[in-house]
Symmetry: C2
Subunit: 371 residues, 2 copies
């Protein structure tokens, strides 16, 4: 077993619901609390298991909503109570990661934090480990470091990171500067990026000294920074925390870390990237879930659900079964069937992005009990 | 209100499960106990309501399985107890209709019976009424009479009846002899029949004097005839019936009335036909159920189920909802979704005929609890 990395703290923001995976993902059962790969455990637990060898179980923090506290503690029995940072309401990723940075830097001034989403799917633990170790080495030099995934296809579903000049960093032979971040491209542009090879997928992983990260927030989002300082000051004082959270958190700037930190830092030459040669997917919708579970074999029917009772004939796509009903699927291609106790979805991979529209429609029509 | 027809008894064989409509139709909830048109009542009740003006509520008999007795009595509170003929096990249509004929002729030697399936959909009550009255008039002359439906398309899903010479029958201006019966044709042949106009769909309706019908059975199926006589002799004697049923019914010849009566009678010039100018469908599978409920509009999504909560976007086909789950359907065409408490079917109209294969597979794999 390799040793945990010195001064390193892993942070798991466990926030998003994953509306495009409704009715599997819900407000009370968000994406990170599901097993989306048939591994037998939740994505959150998979994330923990990936990070434990890098940070040690005492040095993993989870930022999550109050409603998910019990589920998180059930999934991660090893997480110290002091490392579960509860949000009273979601305020986007800069607030979540910034809060963790502010609390941890107060505990340990030299801490290096790495933020890894709770609901991504990664395969290739050793390669992941190596990428994070390089990223931490790069962060130690004062860079904010991200891990970018070499594209395996011209995806229009992810943002891209363009690599710039190589960096010379001890322990990080693949480190390079980031030239720029780009939003999800159209197919034409994605094909150009894919051919270019200097573009990597933005997997939303950020590794930095906590003080460097907070400094970047201070420069770009001073109001957010001030709020985080107030929160961190009171956080580890049980009596003081509550009132400060109640006062400050609702006013915290809602902004993604990409805009508050990564893009401005890239412009200033402070952002580095390590290529991550592992399989990665953010499983953003049922099309990617199907692809992930059929391993790209387009004529397969993937089945998710430990009590699934499926009778399939000449069909492809994915069936997600959360009930113990018999599900019979005959002659349907690229189908997406999600069978839960109180809601059923039937669509195709092609229309997977439209699921969010259903969730919006359910909200509008007041059927919140199934959201 | 027109008067009921003299000497007429309507018989409703309520037997088949309708396996091609699984998981809606089940052993314990066969097709005739469902509302397949959104009328608000079962097909069996629809059938009763169609026949009551023709026969009177005291003169309608139902032949059904012992397991369905309670359901039949619930659906048809007006049916006299003595007119519910219970089969201990299904022995096909000649036995069911023959049993009714044998019992009724013993009660009334001159009775004319008309047999009408419990699970067909008919629209156009007045035209139906007129066809039956013509058929009874023809039966009174000693013919076995059927009602054939002028095809509205070259269907390969039904058998056909070829009309022969016209008959001169008082009260039946449309009566004609039947030249022959033909099995479900291929598409080429169906198109030829459709163009010819002398071919009618075989809707499985038979109207005849009970003694004539039994005479035909005696000629063609003497073993069946003997069994029916034994049963009828004992039937209306409560003490005698049980032992005779137990002894005779399991040995009764299993044969469809088409083979035992209609085809041989047609060959001998004893079968007549009245064209039925009403909308008729046997709703043999989900493709016909979808068509029936979208009224043939191919880009509509039909919804069946009184508590259905459907959110549909850019979809066509049919959703049958027997639960109160929210069902979201996005971007699927000609889809068939049947949502029941313990089983879910997803297929397309094109593959509707393959549903029976699922039922067979469920039997083979021992999952009888959902059949």
């Amino acid at each position: 077993m390799p040793e945990p990395i010195n001064d390193f703290y892993a942070v798991i923001p466990a926030g998003g619901i994953g509306s495009r995976l409704w009715p599997l993902s819900r407000a009370d059962a968000p994406k990170f609390l599901h097993d989306l790969t048939g591994s037998g455990q939740t994505l959150l637990r998979d994330t923990w298991d990936r990070l434990e060898p890098l940070a040690g179980s005492d040095r993993i923090a989870v930022v999550t909503g109050r409603a998910h506290r019990a589920a998180v503690e059930r999934e991660l029995p090893g997480v110290p109570d002091k490392n579960v940072f509860l949000e009273s309401e979601p305020r986007d990723s800069a607030a979540a990661i910034g809060l963790a940075a502010a609390i941890l830097v107060k505990r340990e001034p030299d801490v290096i934090i790495g933020s890894f989403a709770a609901d991504h799917v990664i395969r290739g633990a050793q390669v992941f480990d190596w990428a994070v170790r390089q990223a931490v080495a790069t962060a130690r030099e004062g860079y904010i470091c991200t891990i970018g995934i070499p594209p395996v296809e011209p995806s229009v579903g992810f943002g891209y990171i363009q690599k710039g000049d190589e960096l010379v960093v001890e322990g990080a032979p693949e480190a390079a500067l980031v030239r720029r971040f780009v939003e999800k491209p159209d197919l034409e542009t994605a094909k150009a990026y894919y051919a270019d090879r200097s573009y990597l997928w933005n997997a939303g992983m950020f590794i930095a000294r906590a003080d460097v990260l907070l400094g970047e927030i201070a420069e770009n989002e001073p109001h957010l920074y001030a709020g985080l300082m107030d929160l961190a000051e009171a956080w580890d004082d049980r009596d003081a925390r509550g009132p400060v959270v109640d006062r400050v958190w609702p006013t915290i700037t809602k902004i993604a870390i990409d805009y508050a930190v990564a893009e401005p830092a890239a412009e200033k030459g402070r952002l580095a990237v390590i290529p991550g040669h592992f399989d990665w997917d953010d499983v953003g919708d049922f099309a990617s879930l199907a692809k992930l579970n059929t391993h790209g074999r387009g004529n397969d029917l993937a089945i998710l659900g430990k009590n699934a009772r499926i009778l399939a004939d000449a069909s492809s796509g994915i069936v997600v079964s959360q009930t113990n009903r018999v599900i019979s699927v005959i002659g349907v291609q690229d189908i997406v069937i999600v069978d839960t106790e109180d809601a059923l979805l039937v669509t195709t991979s092609e229309h997977a992005q439209r699921v969010k529209g259903v969730v919006d429609a359910l909200k509008v029509t007041g059927r919140n009990e199934v959201l």
